[in-house]
């Protein structure tokens, strides 16, 4: 797998304020990469640097192996910024045609029609964009981002201000883009649920510093941990409780109202714990594994930051 986006020790200073403090991470080709952070953390500044809208004070930025400030690389990137950048007085079709022309797209007509169809706006092609809802504008902005067939999509909070049905539709389109076309998607958000739902890798920026970066599942497993909850019928003998306490690989925590809770530090699975309980004659009524959420991870990092003050 090759690297689609790489940032190394990137710094950005506006007057005396250091907005990015030596950030670095890599996005692999085909990733759906979530860039998380609260408002003012530095997400938009990072995206503007990736799109060469502003220059980094120092550091290296490469996209598809080329420096991000190269004109040629602009043609391989599609983007949706937090403002959609559409001309209100022009129709949906005219907006896409304009962007297709500046990207030097051939066979503009069919490609524009195809993108409008893909985002469900074919029947509104001749309507002025000024009349569109926020959700429709975001879908059109996404069509614009895809009209020239980019390899990398950079999206700045694409779901913000969109109603739930619009979000579902937009999420579906993005997932199709990754699955069917194999494109790389880098998208910023402060919606943790949304990122956990669709991203395979993440980076978390906080006050201009990357606090966390990597594969989402690995990060959650390594940092957030998980719980195994087993509901039992009848009692659990004291001797078994002591045995469980003496088995650190299970990470036994509590027994309350017929519910055993484990936080295994390693690779112990539900079947290992249930197997042990059944072998000791315990009647197991149900068992499940619960993963820590990205929110738990985020909260832990914020707590760590507060603690280090």
């Amino acid at each position: 797998m090759s690297t689609a986006i790489r940032l190394e020790n990137v710094r950005k200073t506006f007057r005396s304020t250091e907005v990015l403090r030596g950030i670095g991470f890599a996005v692999e080709t085909g990733d759906m990469f979530g860039y998380l952070g609260s408002n003012g953390a530095g997400k938009t500044t990072t995206i503007r640097i990736l799109l060469d809208l502003i220059r980094a004070t120092s550091g290296e930025i490469s996209i598809m192996g080329e420096r991000a400030d190269r004109d040629a690389i602009r043609r391989r990137i599609g983007f949706v910024l937090d403002s959609d950048g559409l001309y209100n007085a022009m129709t949906a079709e005219e907006n896409l045609t304009f962007y297709a022309r500046i990207y030097g797209v051939r066979d503009i007509g069919p490609k524009v029609a195809g993108q409008l169809e893909a985002v469900g706006l074919a029947d509104r092609a001749r309507d002025r964009v000024g009349l569109f809802s926020r959700g429709m504008r975001q879908r059109l902005a996404l069509a614009r981002a895809l009209v020239h067939g980019p390899d990398v999509l950079i999206l700045d909070e694409p779901m913000s201000g969109i109603d739930p049905s619009g979000q579902i539709e937009l999420r579906r389109i993005l997932q199709d883009v990754v699955r069917q076309d194999g494109k790389t998607i880098f998208f910023s958000s402060h919606d943790l649920d949304e990122v956990q739902r669709i991203c395979n890798r993440i980076a978390l920026i906080d006050r201009g510093e990357i606090r966390l970066a990597g594969e989402l599942k690995t990060l959650i497993r390594e940092m957030g941990g998980h719980e195994i909850i087993v509901d039992v019928g009848g009692g659990v003998p004291e001797s078994l409780v002591n045995e469980l306490k003496g088995a650190p690989e299970f990470g036994f925590r509590t027994l309350e109202n017929g519910r055993l809770v484990f936080s295994p530090p390693g690779s112990a699975e539900v079947s290992d714990i249930v197997g042990r309980l059944v072998a000791r004659g315990v009647k197991v009524e149900g068992a499940r594994r619960t993963e820590a959420s990205l929110e738990d991870l985020y909260a832990a990092i914020l707590k760590e930051r507060e603690g280090s003050k």
Partner: protein, 248 residues
């Protein structure tokens, strides 16, 4: 620069489809031009044509003033109506970020925006100026003195305003793009006010002949000065300035 033409077309569409703005531009232009023509005709041209010894040179001087003034009014109003208001909206909408994040360079965007304001202004300016030249000549001057026209009158009447307004247009858009768009409009307003004041002085005092070479040279020098200022300032035009000045 291959993106220049589509960018001009997009901005033309985005600006001149605003019916209200186009209506204001044409409405105000027609009113002011009618006032100018009425003023110059009643005060100067008609008395000249009715005098026992009509002076064709004097009548031609006033006709040149009408043609020049017509172009000046149309161009000035066009620049005022279609620069700052649009820029304020487009910057609030952060439209330029999306264009600049693509393959359009910042100077291409600036030039496209300037031409998207200047070119329609040029067409309207020439159309109105030619119409006023032919109208006044045909209806008022020709019946008594014959059709009046001279190369300098036509050149100064039709070409000087666009020659001055192109660099001015570039300056207004340059300032508007890289700083607060209102600052750009202040320049357009000041320039318009200054040029209209010049026109009023010419009408009332008639100290300088619009068809004279001195008038031509003053305009060319002024256009050159503004052009030089634009050249110096455009060296500071960057994507970052445009993007950061668009912050809401």
């Amino acid at each position: 620069m291959s993106s220049l033409a589509p960018t001009i077309v997009a901005h033309l569409r985005n600006s001149y489809r605003l019916k209200g703005a186009v209506f204001v531009m044409f409405g105000v232009s027609v009113l002011l031009i009618a006032g100018l023509i009425a003023l110059v005709c009643v005060l100067a041209i008609v008395p000249e044509t009715r005098s026992p010894n009509p002076n064709a040179a004097e009548a031609a001087r006033y006709l040149g003033l009408i043609v020049y003034g017509t172009g000046l009014l149309v161009m000035g109003i066009n620049l005022n109506v279609f620069t700052a208001n649009n820029l304020v909206k487009e910057k609030a909408q952060r439209l330029f970020e999306s264009i600049l994040a693509g393959p359009v360079g910042v100077r291409t965007l600036w030039m496209a925006k300037s031409l998207a304001v200047f070119l329609p202004g040029l067409v309207f300016c020439e159309a109105f100026a030619i119409a006023s030249f032919l109208g006044v000549n045909t209806l008022i001057i020709a019946p008594r003195m014959g059709f009046l026209a001279s190369p300098t009158m036509i050149f100064n009447g039709l070409a000087l305003v666009p020659i001055l307004y192109f660099p001015l247009c570039c300056l207004v858009l340059l300032v508007g793009l890289s700083a607060n768009p209102i600052s750009g409009n202040v320049i357009a307003n000041i320039a318009f006010a200054a040029l209209v004041t010049l026109l009023i002085n010419l009408v009332t005092r008639a100290g300088l002949d619009v068809g004279s070479s001195v008038f031509t040279l003053v305009h060319l020098a002024l256009a050159g000065g503004v052009g030089l200022l634009v050249f110096v300032l455009q060296l500071r035009l960057t994507k970052e300035r445009v993007v950061l000045s668009s912050r809401t």
